[in-house]
């Protein structure tokens, strides 16, 4: 064993003890760089964003910042576009995560029941592919597939006498298309988590349930849901955080349109900051996104701890 060999060499070096070999110094040196880095990347930007959000300021002329108090926030809360972005982000989170969990559960059950077949593992790898595809490319894929003129989706639907579906061309359809894309990409992730949860259930518990004459919905309610509750909640937290960051796909497919129908929070803040250079308004939006993230995660982590303690 490699480490055993190297351990015999160690004492000779360690006899020369110096300041650099001091335990506490070494441990501090291990931790400090990461903490400083993260503080510069999170705490400082947060303080600076709050500062900017209280000022009328252009990204192109930062030195001319004028204090305006809470005006940026008040403007945001009366801006229909921002409210639309909030509503869309919330709707997207609720509907896509719900659909993902339901579909993922069904597929996870199917994979678990096929787990005695070795070659099914290969199918599982194929099924996982969408979650590894660059989100930007996902946007491109569906711009192509859902294209009104050269898209394969409408061609195939036309072949069975349906459509044409407007996809990104109409306000309701555009939102549903974005929702479908989200489900397509992230169901595999949820499936992976749920499958890990299902595989942790001991086979003899299923056997006992069968002997006791339990129906499938009893097994679901008393055995499966309790076993996957924790890990699914974790998945929900991560997916909510993802939805708050959701940007790439709308950026290439709809840019928030048609009209304001697919505007989401991060795209809104991005456009304010880097297209209209309104660093004050953009920062206020960013602060609101951050506060929503903090509230949701604190709440969710508490819930997670409680479930784990049970």
């Amino acid at each position: 064993m490699a480490h055993a060999v190297s351990m015999t060499r160690a004492p000779k070096e360690a006899t020369r003890r110096s300041f650099l070999h001091d335990d506490r110094f070494q441990m501090t040196a291990f931790i400090a760089p990461t903490c400083i880095f993260l503080a510069l990347l999170t705490i400082w930007p947060f303080i600076y964003s709050v500062y900017l959000s209280l000022h009328a300021v252009k990204l192109t002329a930062m030195q001319r910042a004028v204090f305006v108090g809470l005006d940026n926030y008040l403007n945001l809360l009366t801006d229909p576009l921002f409210l639309r972005a909030m509503l869309n982000t919330g709707m997207l989170a609720v509907t896509s995560i719900t659909c993902e969990i339901v579909i993922a559960f069904v597929i996870a059950k199917a994979f678990v029941s096929l787990s005695h077949l070795k070659w099914v593992n290969g199918l599982r790898s194929l099924f996982m592919i969408p979650m590894m595809v660059t989100p930007l490319i996902v946007g491109m894929i569906f711009s192509y597939v859902f294209n009104p003129v050269l898209g394969i989706a409408n061609y195939l639907l036309g072949g069975v006498g349906l459509g044409p579906v407007p996809w990104f061309g109409d306000t309701t359809a555009a939102m549903i298309s974005i929702l479908l894309i989200n489900i397509w990409q992230w169901t595999p992730f949820m499936m992976l988590l749920i499958m890990a949860g299902l595989l942790s259930i001991r086979a003899d518990l299923y056997e006992a349930a069968r002997v006791d004459g339990a129906k499938w919905h009893h097994v679901l309610r008393f055995l499966e849901i309790p076993s996957i509750k924790g890990i699914v909640l974790l998945g929900i937290i991560l997916r909510i955080i993802d939805t708050l960051r959701f940007f790439d796909v709308v950026y290439v497919t709809t840019r928030g349109g048609p009209g304001d129908s697919t505007m989401v929070l991060t795209l809104y803040a991005y456009q304010q900051n880097f297209q209209f250079f309104q660093a004050g308004v953009g920062s206020a939006a960013a602060v609101i996104i951050l506060v929503i993230s903090i509230v949701i995660t604190t709440f969710a982590v508490k819930l997670l701890r409680r479930i784990e303690d049970e």
Binding site: C35, A269, G282
Partner: protein, 274 residues
């Protein structure tokens, strides 16, 4: 368990096959377009099977845009290395060093993972502008490493926890410094775990788009930023998009297939505090 097909496997199998088809068909359709001339890409009814010897699209993309692929690779690999160099000692110290506020510090590090990048966007832009890091690869490496650091620390901790405590104590009794324990005992034993951490950081950094969109303008543009510019206001360059998509998807898929075993355990081990 035996490896034979039973009749009651039929329903789950059909279901699984249907969903696998939905999962890969859209991606495959764009990838097929990479082997078609422009006229075939936009043809309706579609040209189903392209001539796979037609490689002009790849040639065009690679000759015109190779510097940006190199940018992406440098930024991604640099960020992966930087994130691991910072994360491994930190994770090691957080697991093995008892001090006041250790749990709180670990929780704080994880909580920074929840930070939406857009919330740091303007401050980052302003510091980078001041420090001359805008549109530069070092800037991208710093940003990508930073945003992946919390996750890398947390996941590394879960692998380091699995190194038997007795080995570490024995090494300490022999007089090893903590640095030697990390280098000679813990690292060799958690190699496969670190490979999984590296894969995740690699994929996240490789797929990143929004930060690169405003941190780079010309010189340091990453490949995703270039791809996004293929959809202009006028013509959409589908032939470039298709070929570039294959190039863009290749590294993460290759990595993931190689590391699949580590990754499955990595997701569950890294995510759940064990």
């Amino acid at each position: 368990m035996n490896n034979t097909f039973r009749l009651r496997d039929a329903v789950p199998l059909v279901l699984v096959l249907a969903f696998v088809f939905i999962s890969i068909a859209p991606l495959l359709w764009l990838m097929l377009a990479a082997f078609k001339p422009t006229a075939d890409i936009i043809a309706i009814p579609p040209v189903w099977i392209p001539d796979f010897t037609y490689l002009q699209n790849f040639r065009d993309v690679l000759t015109q845009f190779w510097p940006f692929i190199v940018n992406s690779l440098v930024a991604t690999i640099g960020a992966t290395i930087l994130a691991l160099v910072l994360a491994v000692p930190t994770a090691f110290a957080l697991v093995n060093h008892r001090f006041k506020g250790r749990e709180a510090l670990a929780d704080w590090i994880l909580s920074t993972r929840m930070m939406p990048p857009i919330a740091a966007a303007v401050p980052l832009f302003v510091i980078f502008r001041g420090a001359g890091l805008l549109d530069s690869l070092p800037g991208l490496i710093i940003a990508y490493a930073g945003f992946n650091l919390p996750f890398a620390v947390w996941m590394t901790m879960s692998f380091i926890r699995r190194v038997p405590k007795e080995l570490i104590e024995a090494a300490r009794l022999e007089g090893c410094t903590w640095w030697q324990v990390l280098k000679d005992v813990v690292l060799p034993l958690s190699k496969s775990g670190l490979a999984a951490v590296a894969t995740f950081v690699f994929i996240f950094a490789w797929n990143e788009f929004m930060l690169a969109l405003f941190l780079t303008t010309r010189e340091a543009k990453t490949f995703p930023v270039v791809i996004s510019s293929f959809v202009g206001t006028g013509r959409v360059y589908w032939e470039y998009i298709a070929a570039a998509s294959i190039i863009q998807c290749l590294p993460p898929v290759l990595f993931t297939f190689i590391m699949q075993k580590h990754i499955v355990s990595g997701v569950t081990m890294g995510a759940v505090k064990d």
